[in-house]
């Protein structure tokens, strides 16, 4: 068999490893467009703070990792798929034939419709190359404007703050991380950032960026104010890289449309990761989650089905995120915003920036969000995904949501429930 994997992020890498594990004799090629060894975008914030060097971002640490597994790694951009003849064509005109193809081409930053967004000194923070440019421009004392306080914006806030720049954050929505945090917790992150000396403008948009000489940029805001900057970072969101897939005739929507085996509208082509519109565990609907754990699970399921046929169903991923904003850790899981007819439990400690919100449907946890908690947060995922019935523990959690570990132990561990009886 000949397998081709497009994309060398976490989904691409895990898929090639799974393909090799299940099919020792197959010919496997991984095609990625960036001129780097496969690396993790998740690690870029830590590269920006010099906690790690570039090699610390690499997904696999051994230089011969892929060669040892007889996986061919090609650094080219795939430009089209010839679905009739099962061939992929890359930028340099080369042609790769496949029996089964996995598309794991990820996402790219969206370019907000702001005049001057293409000026020199405006950068995304998405690739290692972006990070190298930011390191050059974000010198101590430099003025930096960060457009967008979503997940990516917030996670690089700390890196920028630690570089001692004068930082201004501009976010269109009324709070920080609007896709992860509600009004209460999103604004607690805002007040935390302000206490750390970051200027945060929510419900504000950047209306234009102009070059004012000396390498400086002037960012005009919808509030009428303007900020002069040495560096503008655009972090207003990402969108799946699916243009070439759509051009090749594959069905696309938000992402590449797949069935419950992660197979696309072409029987020989599968999709995984940020480009894939896979099933959401909570809603049963298909959406682009664009998170690391989902990318890895997609890759395993898709690769398994590519080798063994459709014996492994993808039952859906819990959407979840964890974020560190200048030392304030936040996390969200599943239906953190609640469900119709559901109940909730909330603990708010604004002074210490601690927050926990649980969302129930009947006596089952369906979502949660937290701030300032670093211990046992994973159990929230476990309780959601196992659909554990909480019984009398639901009322206990409504009184004190911090007792999540006790609830889990009592409701899911038979030795514990026996001991408590």
């Amino acid at each position: 068999m000949i397998y081709v994997v497009l994309g060398s992020g976490p989904a691409g890498v895990v898929a090639t490893e799974q393909l090799r594990k299940l099919d020792p004799l197959a010919h496997i090629t991984m095609i990625g467009s960036e001129p780097e060894p496969p690396y993790s975008r998740m690690a870029i914030p830590y590269f920006l703070t010099s906690k790690i060097d570039e090699s610390g971002t690499y997904l696999r640490k051994q230089a011969k990792h892929f060669a040892d597994r007889n996986i061919d790694v090609v650094q080219q951009r795939a430009t089209s798929i010839d679905t009739e003849n099962n061939r992929v064509i890359t930028d340099d005109g080369r042609v790769y034939r496949y029996d089964k193809l996995l598309i794991a081409t990820g996402a790219s930053p969206v370019v907000p419709p702001v005049p001057g967004i293409d000026s020199p000194g405006v950068h995304n923070c998405w690739t290692l190359e972006d990070a190298r440019e930011i390191v050059k421009l974000a010198k101590p004392g430099a003025s930096v404007v960060l457009m967008g306080a979503g997940f990516i914006g917030c996670i690089i806030l700390e890196s920028l703050a630690l570089r001692d720049v004068n930082l201004t954050v501009v976010e269109m929505e009324n709070r920080m991380v609007p896709r992860m945090m509600n009004d209460v917790s999103g604004n607690m992150i805002k007040s935390w950032c302000e206490q750390k000396g970051v200027s945060v403008h929510t419900s504000t948009r950047a209306e234009s960026i102009e070059q004012i000489g000396g390498g400086k940029l002037r960012v005009s805001l919808s509030t009428g104010e303007s900020v002069d900057a040495d560096l503008v970072i655009s972090a207003t969101g990402v969108a799946p890289n699916l243009g070439f897939a759509a051009d090749s005739g594959l069905r696309t929507d938000q992402g590449i449309v797949v069935n419950d085996y992660l197979q696309t509208s072409d029987a020989d082509i599968y999709a995984a990761g940020d480009v894939c519109q896979g099933k959401d565990f909570n809603t049963g609907e298909y959406s682009v989650q664009a998170i690391q754990p989902t990318a890895v699970e997609h890759a395993k399921v898709a690769a398994t089905n590519m080798v063994r046929g459709h014996r492994t169903e993808h039952v859906g991923n819990v959407n979840m995120n964890v974020l560190d904003t200048i030392g304030l850790v936040s996390a969200s899981f599943g239906m953190w915003m609640g469900v119709p007819g559901g109940e909730s439990s909330e603990l708010v400690n604004e002074k210490e920036h601690k927050y926990l919100n649980l969302q129930f449907k009947d006596d089952v946890l369906v979502g949660a969000s937290s701030l300032g908690l670093t211990q046992h947060v994973g159990v929230l995922r476990g309780l959601i995904q196992s659909k554990t019935r909480l019984g009398l523990w639901k009322d206990r959690l409504k009184k004190d949501p911090m007792r999540i570990m006790e609830a889990y132990l009592a409701c899911s561990q038979s030795q514990v429930s026996a001991a408590l009886a």
Partner: protein, 157 residues
Amino acid sequence: MQKSLNIDPGKCTGCLQCEMACSLENEGVFNTSKSRIKVFTFHEEGKFVPYTCTQCDEAWCMHACPVDAIVVNSVTGSKDVIADLCVGCKVCTIACPFGTVNYNADSGKVVKCDLCGGDPQCVSACPTNAITYVDANATGLDKMRQWAEKTDNTVGG
């Protein structure tokens, strides 16, 4: 034969010797807040339950790690965090459905039970045999692992 921690909550008196021993072994200080094993208190029932990583086969933490910083210990079967490689992204802490991989803000890394390399200090410290280190087959490990299976994303395969 692989061994694993067996926990008998009925025998736990809540003395926290396990937490003290764990903290001393792994962090060099007596500080229960730094322990990787935790004793949970059930006020209503007047009971205590020690709990830590079950070293589950699914190894959610290991598969979620973006930088290959969690590996299987070939001797004990434990899943170990390689601190030098951990960047502190915390993805493993939300991926672990047991809540037993946790972020340590002091070090900027995650921590989890590594069975002390095969000589778990919580076991040595426990005065009532509530925590023992025994053949994996003899423990309630399989029951604990049912939780992992319930959380598994795949059917069949």
